[in-house]
Symmetry: C2
Subunit: 552 residues, 2 copies
């Protein structure tokens, strides 16, 4: 680094005049051109990279990767110009990131997003509104209420009157934008906990209990003469539900998994049995039963109608985690899969999943427009009582105006545009399942109810051995098959052309041990059956190149 | 709407061919030009709007505003083209949003951001990485660790050896990016709670208690023979701390406010007294003491060294909420104001505040690189035990790569660039305080320690009356002054040229009632003393136009 360069760098920002320049947006044509040039660099530099690097990521070990990221001292002077920072991101960072936009990336719930999402995200950054309060967001708070009502209506289908009354009501609330599904689920269970252990003022004038939010869990249990509180969740539930139990003070071991049937859906008989056992004991409160609509591992949907009936019968809160599956409601063809969701007390949906928003945007909806009252917080400086600030009844504080992105996307695509993608995912997954079943080397493990399926490599010789053997032998063979799948998945990921994920699943109820499965999530509309066949071809190739020798 | 237009709209996205087009980024020059045109619209359309509408927001009542946002049905077909959506945002949404970038907007902790932040946010959207796991972020996870180490070092100043060991260690963790200060504080207190009520396996082999996260609060209290758990916070603490107490099951009434001295800083004698009282009782556990570094209302910093000493003496967890004040550490001139922060167990800093990132980005740091172990969660599908996934030890699930924005900004500006802004804010606030003291109509209420101050309009005639009167009369006069300030603040906000916020503060320890104060936050580098004088001039003008008649 020579002195001239250092001077140039210094003059960039670390004096007052240049600092001013970065805050006053450029007036003259020359500066405007520069700004646009940078944006072009971002839009097309990244695009070209993704185009010429069809792979998922550059092959580089984690250890090697970390070598360039060891310095822990913040530079006193500016190191680089904006243009150089952007160039570095395109040439150094992007190749070592993960090309989640590739149609060959079918391993996680992260995929390509429509290109205009980048524009919309840039708009929210340029406006930089904070929807925690009206004074820093104004119309964006109003718009957020409207879009919340639109999605609420999609889920709960209340009357015209209902929405007319609540869409812009300052006293009620149909839901919240959250960071992610995790905080949406946490919000739902926080509300369920507080509504379960509400103030006993109205019931019993002798009691001083003012509700769990104020008085805490110890006082709540005492007031309700209980010893334990539990949440019941399908075995396939996301780990954020267990985490919510930990955070809320209930204890994550009291987030009790309910067994699933052979289709990986919550077993209603088992649920019924658990409820009866708990009720018999009399000292345990059931805060909520959670149904999954689009399980992370299998895409399956719990029997929502049956769970809703049981919840109604026993007056138990019913939460649906539809972080993944919620947008299926936009498809006229497949919305019926979510039948029963309209009877939930609360529903989680992630906008950065099947609404195709950029990272990250979760949402939580409540059937009862007063449900969120039990988590309201006020202060003198923001969110004064009686104000319309959205931050009064939310887990998060400062928040970006994600609603503007969702609102715009729905205007640009309509529910029909979204339905095309939803239908494509579900139907392509069905084709993929058929293809897997056709191939001798593979075994379909969970049939896709939506657009997620699991399968595994199961060489016929080993598969045949399993069917005739005892439990101990079965476990042993399955361990061998597990190792094969772990190896093939890893080698495919490292080759960098395509990516499926892996997890461990119990195949049938009663199975003591899970098996390793490969997991495919079909959400990218550019992923078609031909690409999926290529992925299987590659897996076959890897399998034969690694294990043929052993086999022979 | 004519038929031709409807057809055009339909063809936009709601068929497969056009859907494909929005996922495949454009190849030909024509399309590229269109994309850039849209971005120009965003960058300069919004800019021009902000330039020609110097005010904070258009004058429009909330009721009027909501009229256009009543429809709650999602359109089946696309309603608008991207270009029209962007135009609408510029012409309909932006004028009704709040111009937080105006140097006359000095009421909240939201302000102008350097223009390149919009570029950087667009990059994170284009890459769309999810840092919850390595498989959807790779180098971004590594980069996040590095930037976490850089800020950790700024706060805790550990040795070279320490950072070399932990910067890229997969076993330890120096902190987390969070959504906002609220979830950062929640994470800190969640960790403090879990470390307080940790597993008793090691202490007592008879106990089955496996830690509060697993077994819950009831079992924890029982195991530790306690009846109550509390958190002690300065009276000036942010309401998110109280909320954290509610969420964590402790009960928000057990987040106990510690009185402040005449300078609005936590009174160490009072803190000492409270600790002694609690210890005497023997049945209450102190989970954490929270010091504030940059109080929301007054910008004041609690006596961190003294609190740290007390915490050490009594072995109590010490958390510092430096959501606002943290970046003062970047200023060589003023870093000393935060002396003692290096002794905290955890520190909250918001990147969307004085790191000038777009909404929203919080951070939480832990002195002990193993502190986050007590909130770790694993699953089979992501975050497998032993993996390097950042989502294993975090409150949030899916997360955007905010670290890339902070890393880039630090490279572009250096700590020196940031220091210029910090110094400007502190020094301009001091000038503003002097100006307020000079003017007869005003009264400085809290002297700015950093870049936040409060004052009020206090007409000399009323002020003189107060000094000679009894308590009841004082309260009465203060109520009159309160009303004056509420009116002037509201009228100034409605006029739309400038904005200060208001809050209610107890002026001195022992005061029974708070007074209404006007609150100024000087973070926009374009806000200078002349603009602040104009704001005072306007307040004087409003005051005289409204209250002169009454006065005469």
């Amino acid at each position: 680094m020579n002195t001239r360069y250092e001077k140039e760098n210094l003059s960039l920002v670390a004096d007052w005049k240049t600092l001013e320049r970065i805050f006053i947006r450029p007036e003259d044509d020359e500066c405007r051109k520069t700004l646009v040039k940078y944006m072009e660099q971002i839009l097309f530099g990244l695009h070209d990279f993704l185009k010429f690097n069809v792979g998922i990521t550059e092959e580089i070990s984690l250890k090697e990767l970390t070598l360039g990221f060891q310095n822990t001292i913040i530079n006193k002077n500016p190191e680089k110009k904006l243009a150089d920072v952007i160039s570095d991101i395109i040439t150094v960072i992007a190749p070592r990131a993960v090309n989640v936009a590739s149609p060959y990336f079918v391993g996680h719930m992260t995929a390509a997003i429509p290109f205009f999402m980048v524009h919309l995200k840039a708009i929210t950054a340029a406006l930089n509104q904070n929807v925690v309060k009206l004074e820093t967001s104004k119309v964006l708070s109003v718009l957020e209420r409207q879009i919340l009502a639109k999605i609420h209506r999609l889920i709960f289908k209340e009357s015209n009157e209902f929405y007319k009354r609540h869409v812009q009501s300052i006293d009620t609330s149909l839901g919240n934008f959250t960071t992610c599904g995790t905080t949406a689920n946490l919000t739902a269970l926080w509300v369920a906990r507080n509504r379960f252990f509400s103030s006993r003022d109205k019931l019993d004038t002798d009691s001083n209990f003012r509700g769990i939010e104020q008085d805490g869990l110890i006082a709540a249990m005492h007031s309700y003469s209980l010893e334990k509180a539990v949440i019941l969740v399908s075995e396939r539930g996301h780990f954020s539900l267990k985490k919510a139990g930990g955070i809320l003070g209930i204890g994550n071991k009291n987030v009790i998994p309910v067994g699933v049937d052979a289709k990986q859906k919550m077993d209603i008989k088992k649920l019924n049995g658990i409820i009866k056992d708990i009720k018999k004991n009399g000292k345990t409160g059931i805060i909520s039963i959670v149904g999954i609509a689009g399980a992370t591992e299998t895409g399956t949907i719990d029997p929502l109608c049956d769970i809703a009936d049981l919840c109604e019968e026993h007056s138990i809160n019913f939460h649906v985690d539809a972080a993944w599956g919620g947008p299926v409601l936009l498809s006229e063809k497949y919305a019926h899969l979510l039948k029963g969701i309209e009877n939930a007390d609360s529903v989680t949906i992630d906008a950065h999943k099947q609404f195709y928003l950029p990272m990250t945007s979760g949402m939580i909806y409540f059937k009862n427009p007063c449900a969120l009252d039990c988590i309201s917080y006020h202060s003198n400086y923001v969110n004064r009582a009686g104000s319309v600030d959205l931050g009064i009844k939310s887990l998060e504080g400062s928040r970006e105006a994600h609603s503007l992105i969702l609102d715009s996307a729905l205007k640009i695509m309509g529910s029909r545009g979204y339905a095309l993608m939803i239908d494509h995912g579900i139907e392509t997954a069905a084709q993929f399942a058929a293809e897997i079943s056709k191939r001798e080397l593979f075994e379909l493990v969970t049939k896709p109810e939506t657009n997620i399926l699991t399968y595994r490599i199961a060489p016929p010789s080993l598969k045949n051995k399993i069917s005739g053997s005892g439990l101990r032998e079965k476990i042993k063979i399955n361990r061998v098959i597990d190792e094969i799948n772990i190896t093939v998945q890893r080698k495919q990921r490292e080759a960098g052309k395509s990516f499926v994920s892996r997890t461990r699943l119990k195949r049938k109820p009663g199975d003591k041990y899970g098996i390793v499965v490969l997991r495919s999530v079909i959400m990218n509309p550019m992923t078609d059956i031909n690409i999926l066949k290529e992925i299987l071809d590659e897996q076959e190739k890897i399998f034969f190149s690694v294990f043929r020798r052993k086999k022979q």
